[in-house]
Each structure stands twice: as C-alpha cells, then as structure tokens.
C-alpha cells in the first residue's frame, strides 16, 4: 500500500524534495556535531529538539557552500550545529523551521551507525484476545529455526508455547521471559507487567515450511483457555543479516546471568546466518608494476572507511621498498565497490607504488576477508595490517621480517600507538569482566599509557596473544592452521584464536617493541555497557572462544 502511495505521490509530483541535507553527525566528547546545508529560500532556521519538544542549546556556525549552490543552482546555507548534551542520539531530533511556518523533523544517526530498526510500540488495538493482553511482535526464521519475540501480560507465568505451523513438528523450544520497561510503562497499574517480555526460539524438523507462511502464530494456555498471538512480520534471517541480528539480539540482556545461560539458543541461528564456508565472488584489480618476487605479501581488509587507502599508499610510496612488498587490499564492503575502485584509480596516478584491490561480492568479516587475501599472496611471509594503521618507525617491514625469518618464531606483532603517542597495543592478555563471570576476554595492558612509562629492554620478546591489526607470519604456518577460524561472527577473537593455534604448532609468537605503528583504532565497543546487539555478538563470540581454549587460557591467565 505504501508503495502505491509513493508511486502516486511521485506521479502527482506532490513529494517536494527535502529542503535540507545532513552531511554528517558526529559524537563529540560532550555532545554531538551535526553538519549539513539547507535551501536558503525555504528554510528559516535549523536546530535540535528533544523528544519532549524542548529545544537543545547549540552553537551554530554558518558555512559557505558554493558546492551546493553550483550543484543545485539555488542559494544554500551550510551549517554546523555543536550541541553539548547528555542525551542519547535517539532522544532528540533535527528540526527545520521553514519560511512558510512549517516544521520538519528528522531522526539523526551517527556516521557509521546502522539505522535503528523499527521497534514496534505497544498498540492496544492489536491485542488478540480479551482475556489476555499481549503481542507477538515479529518472527525471524533461519532454516529450521524460528525466533519470535513479544510480550504477554501474565507476570511471566506462561512457560510453555507452541508454534502453530501446519505439518511442522517442533523438536526443541527455548524461552527467555524478562521485564520490558516499555510494557511496564504502558501498564503501570498492572502487576502482570513484570516479566511480560518473551523471546522464543523453536527448532523445527524441517526448514521448508516457514518461508511460505504469511502469518505466524504461537499458542499457549492462559487461565485454562487456549490463547493465540499472531504476527505477519516475518523476516528471513539470511536476507539482511545485520538488521536481523540486531532484531534478534537487541533484547537479549547478556549481562543478566539468566539470559547469559541461554546464550546457546542464539548461536545455531547466527551460525546459519553467518556461515563460515561462504565463498564470495572476488574481482581483482591490479595497479602499477607488481614486484617480480616479493618477500612479503601485505593484506589489508577494508570495511566502512576506504579513505585509509589514500594515507597508507602515500606512506608506503615513501617508506616501503616496492620490490620487497606486495600490497593487497581486500574490500569486504560490496556497497563501496565503486567508490573504492575510483579511489584506487586515483591513487594509482598519485603514487607509483603497485597494489592490488580484491573486491568481494559479499561482506564476510575480518577473518574470512584475510583468508581470501592470503589465497592471492605470492610471498612466503604475510603481513596482515589494518587499514587504519600508519607506520611510525623506519625499516619496520625489515625488522618484522628479521624476526619472522627465525624458524622457531610464529607470529610477530608490533607496538601500536594512538596518534598522541600513547600505547594502543603492546601484546594482549586474557582478562575477566565482572559482568561475565567465567568468560575470558582480551585485554590490552598499558592501553593509553605514554610510551615513556613503558620502557623495554629487549627488542623482541615472547608474547602469546597479539592483535591481528599488525602481524607478520609465515604463509606456511598460516595455512597449516587453516587461517582464521570462520566461526566467530563479524570479527572478534579470531586473532587470539589463531595466535593459540600457531603456538600449538610448537612456534613462539613474538612482539617487536622497537617497531612502532600508529593505530587509529575506531571507537571500540564498550564491553561493560550492555544492551547493544554488537556487544552481544562479542559476548557470543567470547563464549565460543572460551569453549574452545578454556584450559590454555586458564594457564595463560595463571601465569600473569
């Protein structure tokens, strides 16, 4: 129906273009910065307003936007709004006051953030039965698994639900009941609103039945009557993995012990959504005259931000011997294929340093992107490098190679610094986090320390766990252990996993502290603040990692 409306609107020419564009939204240390422009003829003022309709005080700077004027042929005003606020980005909106008195509002999204998914709000009219209040919000299916979520005003007493699909036999059911603040707020006077939320995962005997279903229902007994909740919002988990992973994990409260104990109910579904054996198409573009027989193959995955390629290649041109090193970029972000190709072509004019760009047909994650890059490597030594790394030391490749060439050495890592010359990575160590008893995460000891407070005596030292942001490793060793384990979803722990696998070969991993590189680590997810789907994926990966390496990690932690 909406589609038809849109088409009609377009045909009737009623839909005027938005009189403004937001170019970027960034987090500052004390609030947010919004940059964009508006059509001077239609817009009087722009600002920010809280969801409670209170204007937020912000500093406005006007910017001349001749680019917009020349592109649109109309007068335009550029602006930068800087706002100090403790509100979350979801708690305020961008507001535009038009010259005709109209107001337009728009939600803002941080750059690089994913658009928030629609979370259904409590809608009393949709309730299925007069005797019990509840909603089945949506379902996600992945092969034989069906995930459903919603709420039921029964104080969490109902523990048994059936999935109502013709001919389908349920082999297994997993359930979490939990308190949802939105339900508690909507039914403040009802004692039944506690533990109203439910998350269910059904395992069916067949993967064939769900895709054809238009409406999906669950049945349960309430007050001695058989009740039913239905939904037509049914998503295929394999079709937009990231949004569906969000839908699946946003509600899971991993920091709560009862939820954490149920982690296993999500893992099989996510594993099917992110299969390890996926083989994306690979398109290869070569630029410049490749070295005849390089001794090092550098693999650099690109995801999200491709402009790092500019800074790196410009640096490599100055500081790396093109006869020794071949550089292979792996674009793990298909939607940026055109942009990356354009930038690569530009860089091939600016620098003479040869490089290749592999464009993957599918986003496969950090580990798999590297594994694919390695298939194209011609040299005996691999240098895995993140795109947001720039070397500080001269002769850094030669020094890493010197250590890597020793037969007993496995992986060689380096000291990584933030742009203010404080330590970002100096080797990793297992760490426990209070919220997740029994799980070991990777810690970066001395993170943020000024380098003068972290002196060292030996240029190279044994260090089992090293971040794959910068690694040199013999290709034969990498292949002998099967490369990065693809079981980790969206990239976590595969570097420490591979470090442990290499040491199991009888090799020793080393850190070269006299090799310093800058690592402009993107704002990493905060491990202590729960509630976000990406964070939850980290927790699930941690569970997998700990299951696999429990004893080895315990030994390591004991040694520290």
């Amino acid at each position: 129906m909406n589609k038809i409306k849109n088409v009609a609107r377009r045909l009737l020419g009623k839909e005027a273009p938005k009189p403004y564009v937001i170019d970027s939204v960034a987090k500052t240390s004390t609030g947010y910065c919004v940059v964009g422009w508006y059509a001077t003829s239609t817009v009087q003022r722009v600002g920010l307003i809280s969801n409670e309709n209170k204007p937020l005080a912000s500093d406005v700077t006007f910017i001349e936007r001749s680019d917009v004027v020349s592109a649109t042929g109309k007068p335009a005003t550029g602006f930068q709004l800087v706002c100090d606020t403790e509100l979350d980005i979801s708690e305020f909106q961008f507001i535009v006051l038009c010259t005709d008195g109209n107001q337009l509002k728009a939600s803002l999204t941080l750059q690089g953030d994913i658009q928030p998914i629609d979370v259904p709000s409590i809608d009393v009219s949709k309730m299925s039965s007069s005797s019990v209040k509840g909603t089945l919000e949506y379902a996600i299916y992945v092969d034989e698994y069906v995930y459903v979520t919603g709420w039921l005003l029964d104080a969490g007493k109902t523990k048994s639900f059936d999935l109502n699909i013709k001919k389908a036999i349920t082999k297994d059911t997993n359930l979490i009941r939990y308190t949802r603040s939105d339900v508690v707020n909507a039914f403040a006077d009802s004692a039944e609103s506690v533990n109203a939320g439910f998350i269910l995962v059904f395992t069916l005997d067949s993967a064939e039945l769900v895709p054809s279903v238009k409406q999906l229902s669950i049945e349960f007994e309430y007050a001695d009557k058989l009740e039913k909740l239905s939904t037509t919002q049914i998503y295929n988990g394999k079709s937009d993995q990231m949004t569906n992973a969000q839908r699946m994990l946003n509600a899971w409260q991993a920091h709560s012990p009862s939820h954490l104990a149920k982690a296993d109910m999500f893992i099989p579904m996510l594993d099917k959504m992110y299969p390890g054996d996926v083989k994306p198409s690979v398109r290869r573009l070569d630029f410049g005259n490749a070295a005849a027989s390089p001794s090092v193959s550098m693999i650099v995955p690109l995801y999200g931000r491709i402009d790092f390629m500019r800074y790196q290649l410009s640096n490599f041109q100055r500081f790396i011997n093109a006869e020794t090193v071949e550089v292979i970029y792996v674009l793990d972000d298909p939607k940026l294929a055109n942009e990356a190709t354009k930038l690569a072509r530009e860089m091939a004019q600016i620098v003479s340093f040869p490089f290749s760009l592999l464009i993957l047909g599918k986003n496969v994650g950090f580990g798999k992107a590297n594994n694919i890059g390695v298939e194209y490597a011609r040299a005996d030594n691999l240098l895995l490098l993140n795109s947001d790394i720039l070397p500080k030391s001269m002769q850094w490749v030669e020094k890493l190679l010197e250590t890597s060439n020793k037969p007993e050495v496995g992986i060689v890592g380096a000291r990584l610094l933030f742009e203010d010359n404080t330590i970002q990575h100096d080797g990793m160590a297992p760490m426990t986090v209070n919220e997740y008893p029994g799980l070991l995460f990777n810690d970066h000891p001395k993170k943020g320390w000024p380098i003068q407070l972290a002196p060292y005596t030996e240029n190279e030292e044994h260090c089992t766990l090293l971040t794959a942001a910068c690694w040199m490793v013999k290709k034969s060793d990498f292949i002998a252990v099967g490369g990065f384990d693809p079981m980790y979803i969206l990239g976590d722990f595969e570097d420490s996993d591979l470090c442990l696998k290499i040491e199991e070969l009888g090799k020793r991993n080393m850190i070269r502290r006299d090799v310093e590189l800058y690592h402009l680590e993107r704002q990493s997810q905060n491990l202590v603040k729960p509630g976000r789907w990406k964070h939850n994926i980290t927790v699930l990966n941690a569970i997998k990692y700990n299951d696999k390496w429990k004893s080895k990690l315990g030994d390591l932690e004991g040694k520290l």
């Binding site: 960034a26 500052t28 500019r310 410009s314 530009e346 600016i350 720039l390 742009e419 203010d420 402009l520």
Partner: protein
Amino acid sequence: MKKIAFISHGHPELSKGGAEVASWNLYQLLKQQGHHCLYVARTDGSSHGGSTFSSRGEEVLFHTGMTDWFNLSTSHLKPLFTDLYDLLKQFSPDIVHIHHYAHMGIEIFPAVRKALPNAKIVFTLHEFMAMCMHNGQMVKRETLKLCTKAVPSDCHQCFPSHSPGDFFLRKSYILDQFSYVDEFISPSEFLAQRYIDWGLPEDKVHVIENVLPTLTPANPRSLPSEGKRTKLAFFGQVNPYKGLDILLKALSLLPEDVREQIHLDVHGANLDIQTSEFKEKVEALLGEVEDCVDLRGPYESEQLPSRMAECDWVVIPSVWWENSPVVIQEAIHLGRPLIGSNIGGMKEKIEGIAGLTFEARSAASLAAAIVHAIEPEVFDYWYAKLSNQQSAIEQHLQFIEKLNSN
C-alpha cells in the same frame, strides 16, 4: 640562465592575495635577470572548449579545482597528472617554483615530480594552511585565541566533525606530498620555525623575504611647528584577523589632548562581506571615533605610494600571527615606520628594525604606543633606521644560482 616555471594559485590581476603578489614579483624579477620564465596561474571557471589551459598575456591560466579541503586534496587528477604534466614536460624547466597548492590540490607536488624527475621543486610557504584547517591562521575557531601548536586533539576541538585520528592522517598525507619538494622558502623565521617544529626537514627550509617592485621612499610629511606625528594609516582587509577593531578601540582610549590631534585613514575593503556580528562591532567602534577616522576604501598597487606618503605611521594590529605581511616591507621601502602587534611575523619584522610593537590584542597597549609614537623624535629615530635595501633580491638570485649546482 635557467628555465623556471612558476605555479601560483591565482593570477595577481584577478586575485590580489599576498602569495599571488609575492610569486608575481619574483617572476618579474627573475625574468628581468634574463631567466626563461613561465607563469602558470590557477583560475576559476571553465575555459574555451573545456580546455585545461587558457592564457592571459604571456601567462598561462590553469583551470582546475580542489575537491577535498580537509586533506587539501583534489580528485581532478587529469589537469595535474596529464595536462600540467604534458605542459611542464614540453617547457622542461630546471626549476619549478610553486607558490601554493590551494585550489589545485596538494597532489601538485607528486604531479610535478612525475613530469620532471630531475627538476628542482621549490615551494614557498605563505601561511599555516597545511597544519591548520582554520584557514591556516593558527587561531582557535570561535574564540579566536592564539594557537601555538597543531595537536590532533586540539584541532578536533576546533572542528568536532573530524576526529583527532583524521587530523593525524591529514598531516601524514600532506607531509608525504611535501616530501617531493627539494627546497622550502619561508619569508619569515617565525613561519619557518613553526613548519620545522611541525615536521618539515630543517635543512630544506630557507628564510628569504618576499621581493617587492622598486619603490621610491617618500620624505616625511612636513609638520607645522610644534606639530606631532599624528597621522596613522591602516592598510589591509577589514576582517576579524586584521585587528582593525583593536585599533579603533585604542583611539577611543587615547587621552583627550592626543585624541584631538589624531587622524586614522583606513585603506581597505570587505567590511561588507564580514559576519554581522563583526560588522556590528566595527560599526559601533567607528561610531565612537568617527571624528578622527576616514574610510578610504580599497586601493590599487599604483595608489599605494601616494596613500602611504600621507601618513606618519602605518599600524598593523593583526590578532593572528601573520607571516611576513607585504605591507610591512612596503612601509619600510616607502619610508614609513610601523606600529605592530608583538607576535609572530610582525614582531620579527618590526621590533628593533622598523618601529614600535605593542601587546597583541590589547587596545590599551596600542593606545600607549600611539601616545609614544606621536613624539617627533620617536618618529625621527625610526624613520632614520628604515632601509630601502632589498637584500631579498640578492638572496633569491643566489638561491636560484646555487640550486642546480649541488
């Protein structure tokens, strides 16, 4: 004699900035000396049939643009790596004198190097654009506080939409492109030192003042008996960095007996295009001192000698560091001492050489300097010290001589 290509980001007849004028004067000088010179000036707008080049007299106009003002980079690579490349290859100069990358892209350095692997690339620094995104002023955005060092986390405070890491990358990329330059010229010690501290190799940075066309010094204004040196002049753009507001405020603070005699001529333009806040501020200050201020408007370079001859002192009250403002050299050559802010290039070029300095940004300090300056013996002392010798000409010629010999 040598073949020298000049590349400027503007033609001085079309855009009269300090860098354009400085490159033009050097071009004229070297041409007169018998060097075979080509002047390439970047220009706005499209040209005939979409060609990358057109001409203005003997000079080549270069039609291109910059696309990324954060990295000072351009994605218009054909004009640089194909068109300019071919043109330079054809001219095959011994030296390429680049006076800016703005509006063309910082990639002009690798492009020139690619075209001419053996030519010497000389780059003249004119302000802090490479290290400071705030128009190269090294003055904090919003507060206009003086900034002494470009640190990524501080730059992020001025431009919150770019992370500290982005500023780190910006610098790294710009330094990479500067690595194609053989020699840097800075018109002031101050600017040179800032760039060396920032990361340019010290042995490649040379301090040589901009050259000027020959100017004949004017005699001091004739004074009536008991008369004082009370005629002040301000030359330059009227914008928040040039400090006209400080000067107007200083006039209002003068003791009554001095104030009655003082006269200020403002030779400059562009108040009309400033932000309303600054405009209102200047207009309010002008209202307070309208009895002793004349707004004379913009001037052509031919009008400068006669306009400057009318005054006793030239005041340069800039609130930013300045590099080596041409107006200081012009005043020295035309025989007019200066009163300037005691920071950066102004301190270097005025203090002990060409006049008085005052505490930058302090109207009270400037007022005190004016009270001191009007005494005829103070004027006479500094007037006598001014020298119209252009050592810069000799230095530039020697520099060119030595360039290809080593």
